[in-house]
Subunit: 261 residues, 2 copies
């Protein structure tokens, strides 16, 4: 029955939208998806509260970690984007946000705002009409906001974050969200030209957001030999925590230190 | 002479690319721009180190705060994207990253990776050739990375951050980068459908990245009456710091608290 594949530890890998939930909203490139549990399979109405467990927790974890998931729409879905028959794979979406609220039924539901990844083709409308240029759920407020910071994730970053169980290698703190622990995989030598840092374990640290910002924007440096951290607000003599098995590429620490001299 | 307009306090509003710097790279939608200072106006060679002051500091501040800037290319620019004659306004770019390094000259320069904002038309090539589908500087590593988190900024958020001089309203910390202090304007009731929070001072807090993540992802709530903060890792009884003149909309705190029950 459940349309969500995944676990609270690793996030969700895919969902199937098959018309199960009265609170779902589908605008093609943006979806407000309802979690599972508590609905009557015959009437599709909510008859009990939903919990943030199992698939629901998996989707929340996907949001925290920015993990994309595969979306499939089924012909039973009550949406202009449902296929005429069968099931259609509609590409990768990311979970932009999650929250709980009382649904139409009067019971608590978990909801997820999903957005089609850039570069993925928009799903076709059943009635053949062109997708609205700007759906009402579309990228709201984009005109008035700017992007201050984009935090990226990768399979290698996930590996390092798991290794440290999300504890920051600089301060030891472990940020809690509603879905568990949160950390950011931080590349010592930046990815992409002209730096061309590698996405490998030796070039990635597990940091809290505060120390990730400082690493990226020149607010701290880490001595390649002693691993002593120098930065405003960081106690004197503090060294980077490194677990056995995490071999940090010291040359990348030297490269990083050179970036903000 | 200087091609950068702006201040270290407010960021840069615009740059003109006019062929002044030997280390500039121009691929149209992505630019690696060299800061100003230390070059000989006749030979265009660096003859001294550059400092992170004035326009250079302004560009770094733009990076920290995600402020877009206007880019104009001049006919003297040594680039396939330079106009045949005169000056051409080429739209809004954001500063993705900044760093210092030793340039070709042997002197220290400050460099800025600029990316054309989504939705802006790509600049035309002088030779009429189509822009390369993927320039060598292009969105590197995007295929292997995913977006974990996007932090947005707005004029209202800037106003609140200035009000608190970047001190977090939850913990009081003030994150330092190479360009000064860093904070994030955090909307209590989220922007965009279906929440439709307003981008107004009463709905925005000045937070450090750690507490912004916790606010957005349900790791903390703030009592609408007492302003007591509840969340893992937050000392018992801590209340939100609110300066006179910052009238927080308590109804939005109640809305936020309802999102992660």
């Amino acid at each position: 029955m459940a349309g969500i594949w995944g676990t609270g530890r690793d996030g969700a890998s895919s969902i199937v939208m098959s018309g199960g939930y009265e609170d779902d909203i589908d605008e093609g490139d943006v979806i407000v998806y309802t979690g599972h549990g508590g609905n009557d399979p015959n009437t599709r109405r909510q008859v009990a509260n939903q919990d943030l467990t199992q698939g629901n927790l998996a989707l929340a974890k996907s949001c925290d970690d920015g993990l994309p998931l595969r979306v499939t729409r089924g012909f039973r879905l009550d949406s202009p984007y449902a296929p005429e028959n069968g099931y259609r794979y509609d590409g990768l979406y990311t979970v932009e946000r999650y929250w709980s609220q009382v649904g139409r039924s009067g019971f608590k539901i978990w909801r997820y705002r999903l957005a089609l990844e850039p570069g993925e083709p928009a799903p076709p409308r059943r009635d053949g009409a062109a997708a609205a240029a700007a759906g009402t759920l579309g990228p709201a407020s984009r005109a008035e906001t700017t992007v201050q910071r984009i935090v990226r994730n990768s399979a290698v970053a996930e590996q390092v974050k798991d290794m440290y169980d999300h504890c920051c290698q600089i301060c030891g703190c472990r940020i809690q969200t509603r879905a568990g622990a949160y950390s950011e995989g931080s590349h010592i030598r930046p990815l992409g030209r002209p730096h061309d840092g590698d996405d490998v374990v030796g070039n990635v640290l597990c940091l809290c957001p505060n120390h990730h910002v400082q690493l990226d924007l020149g607010g701290l440096t880490i001595d390649p030999s002693s691993l002593v951290i120098t930065g405003n607000g960081i106690p004197s003599g503090r060294t980077l925590t490194v677990l056995p098995g995490h071999v940090i590429d010291r040359a990348q620490l030297a490269y990083h230190a050179s970036l903000f001299q």
